[in-house]
């Protein structure tokens, strides 16, 4: 399985070199995408020097934390997005005739997913860590790494859950876009600025707040005024990522069983 995974990445990277124009276009797109978000943040913060006690520097870190996690998810698990398409077009069958887990095979379909966004995310996060004056030690570096991985796990859990719904022949495109824009819009600012209902959703239902708000609060030594929770909750991110992706994987298995029953 490891050999197959390594071969997959080897092919991916070779493809990246081959489709150089494609690669640079995507890189450009990623830069513009995150650049725009950060610029919008800066413009907003010119009017308000601080937002619920968060300065622009700290919000840059907040964004970078999310960005690194989200881009890690994109680099490793982006293919999950294509599952509804595979099922709809009858291309899902082929994952049953190869000797690996179905999800593993979905993740290793070569599809020009390049790790450029993740590299960009790590660089941005490194800069933001300095800009926001995060106290640097081996411990914080490890915490940041664990939080980024956990955040990618949360992303995977949610996208896998949505994708699995299509085993019940549900059209998930709208739902997927709704969840994606929820994530993109509400992770940019500290969630303490939102109403209670939004905060509850982001913390407990679709826990995007654990991708950046809680861990950033912990790392920046901020007291969380929104929930009155201990700052240590920010360390729960890896656990929540594991839990979400684990539960979604079980849900995926149920979906697979259904697929094998109905064939559609």
């Amino acid at each position: 399985m490891l050999a197959a995974y390594l071969q997959y990445w080897k092919i991916n990277l070779l493809t990246m070199a081959e489709y150089r124009a494609d690669f640079f276009m995507w890189l450009g797109f990623t830069i513009v995408y995150h650049g725009t978000a950060l610029a919008a943040l800066a413009v907003t913060m010119m009017r308000f020097p601080s937002m619920n006690g968060w300065s622009l520097r700290e919000m840059f870190f907040l964004y970078a934390l999310w960005m690194a996690a989200h881009e890690l998810h994109n680099a490793l698990f982006y293919n999950v997005m294509y599952v509804p398409e595979y099922i709809r077009e009858g291309r899902f069958d082929r994952f049953f005739v190869r000797p690996f887990d179905t999800l593993f095979q979905v993740l290793t379909v070569p599809s020009r997913t390049f790790p450029d966004g993740f590299i960009l995310g790590v660089v941005t996060l490194a800069i933001a860590t300095g800009v926001a004056h995060v106290h640097l030690s081996l411990q914080t570096v490890l915490v940041i790494a664990a939080v980024v991985c956990g955040g990618a796990g949360i992303d995977l859990g949610i996208s896998l859950f949505v994708a699995s719904l299509s085993f019940w022949t549900i059209r998930v495109d709208t739902l997927r876009w709704a969840v994606m824009s929820l994530e993109q819009d509400f992770t940019r600012y500290p969630i303490s600025i939102y109403t209670r209902a939004v905060r509850v959703v982001l913390a407990y239902i679709l826990p995007f707040a654990f991708m950046n708000y809680f861990p950033a609060s912990y790392l920046l030594g901020k007291h969380d005024a929104a929930f009155g929770l201990s700052p240590q909750v920010g360390l729960l991110t890896p656990l929540i990522g594991l839990l979400w992706s684990g539960c979604s994987y079980l849900f995926w298995r149920i979906g697979i069983n259904r697929y094998q029953g109905t064939g559609s």
Binding site: Q7, R94, T108
Partner: protein, 339 residues
């Protein structure tokens, strides 16, 4: 994997598959009713298929659209879980041990490629080498062999998206056989292919069957594939097997009618020969149909040359295609006759 001798490689007993779908009642209230008290509709796709296939056989599994061919193949490959009956492929129940079963099989779906669209063909092969853990020297040998046999040398480095259908199918065949599985399932493998590609693929199937002893189950609409490759056919209609045996038997039972084609030297209106029925005539060429069992061809030939001035005579044997078409429309009566 080597099971005790004497056990057929593939066994199914009373294999069934029923698809259940929620029936939609008409009107806005119907949708609501469907939500709370759904009404289900059962569609029987495979209604009790029992067959045994021995190692090294090359079997044509044929039937009209919706007869249950693909559903059977999907149960054999482990894609679908049967609704009833038993199934064992090389001693394994495919859907219970899907991954183990997958190591024993190669699959080609004619309609859908298993190759990676963006990648050169050879990259897809490399990926398969890693998936199946094929040793480097064996991989080299198989690949060289396949490249030569399927004439893939010219497009091995071309992205799959730029290949013609025929080239792509050849790639798919190589991809299915790279790990040298003992069983090969082919679902409509020659659909839409030109003559050259068809021939290349038929030769390939013939060779892996002969040289590697690969057991092949071929599902197709193109009976020329079957006629060329298979000794045995299994005919399925409405989820049931209606014939299982050698091609010769079905030909003998159904292909009783032969056709005598006569070309006259001058226009001849309403030609007739005793013992044969005039099927068509355009004045110069006439087609007579006769029963092989009751009429001898040489007598008819003599008869027609005595009566008319004949330029040329030919006898046409029945084609499998026509026989099968006849069975679908008229039903199969062989069970009763041979019982």
């Amino acid at each position: 994997m080597a099971k005790s001798l004497g056990v057929p490689l593939i066994v199914t007993r009373e294999l069934r598959k029923v698809f259940r779908s929620a029936k939609r009642s008409p009107g806005p209230l119907g949708a609501l009713r469907g939500l709370f008290a759904p009404v289900y509709e059962d569609r029987v796709a495979v209604a009790g298929v029992s067959m045994e296939i021995e190692r090294g056989e090359l079997v044509g599994y044929i039937g009209p659209n919706g007869a249950g061919k693909s559903t059977t193949i999907k149960m054999l490959t482990g894609i679908l879980v049967p609704s009833g009956g038993e199934i064992a492929v090389a001693g394994i129940v495919p859907h219970r041990k899907r991954r183990e079963n997958a190591r024993n099989i190669g699959v080609v779906f004619g309609q859908r490629t298993q190759l990676s669209w963006d990648l050169p063909l050879v990259d897809s092969f490399e990926l398969l080498r890693a998936i199946y853990g094929i040793p480097a020297d064996r991989y080299r040998r198989s690949l060289d062999d396949f490249v030569e046999l399927l004439e893939m040398g010219d497009f091995l480095r071309t992205p799959v998206s730029q290949l013609s259908l025929g080239q792509r199918m050849r790639g798919d065949f190589a991809a299915a056989m790279l790990h040298e599985p003992p069983i090969l399932y082919l679902d409509e493998p020659t659909i839409g292919l030109d003559v050259v590609a068809k021939e290349a693929i038929r030769t390939f199937v013939e060779r892996v069957n002969r040289e590697q002893g690969t057991t092949v189950i071929l599902t197709t609409h193109d009976l020329a594939d079957v006629e060329r490759l298979c000794r045995r056919i299994v005919l399925i209609d409405r989820g049931r097997i209606i014939f299982d045996g050698p091609i010769e038997r079905i030909k003998n039972e159904y292909g009783r009618e032969r056709t005598l084609v006569v070309r006259f030297t001058e226009p001849t209106s309403a030609p007739a020969i005793p013992g044969a029925r005039l099927e068509a005539s355009d004045g110069i060429t006439a087609r007579f149909v006769f029963d092989r069992a009751s009429q001898r061809a040489d007598r008819l030939v003599r008869e027609v040359s005595e009566r008319y001035s004949v330029e040329d005579i030919a006898i046409e044997e029945p084609e499998l295609e026509g026989i099968i078409r006849h069975i679908y429309t008229q039903g199969y009566a062989g069970e009763e006759r041979s019982a």
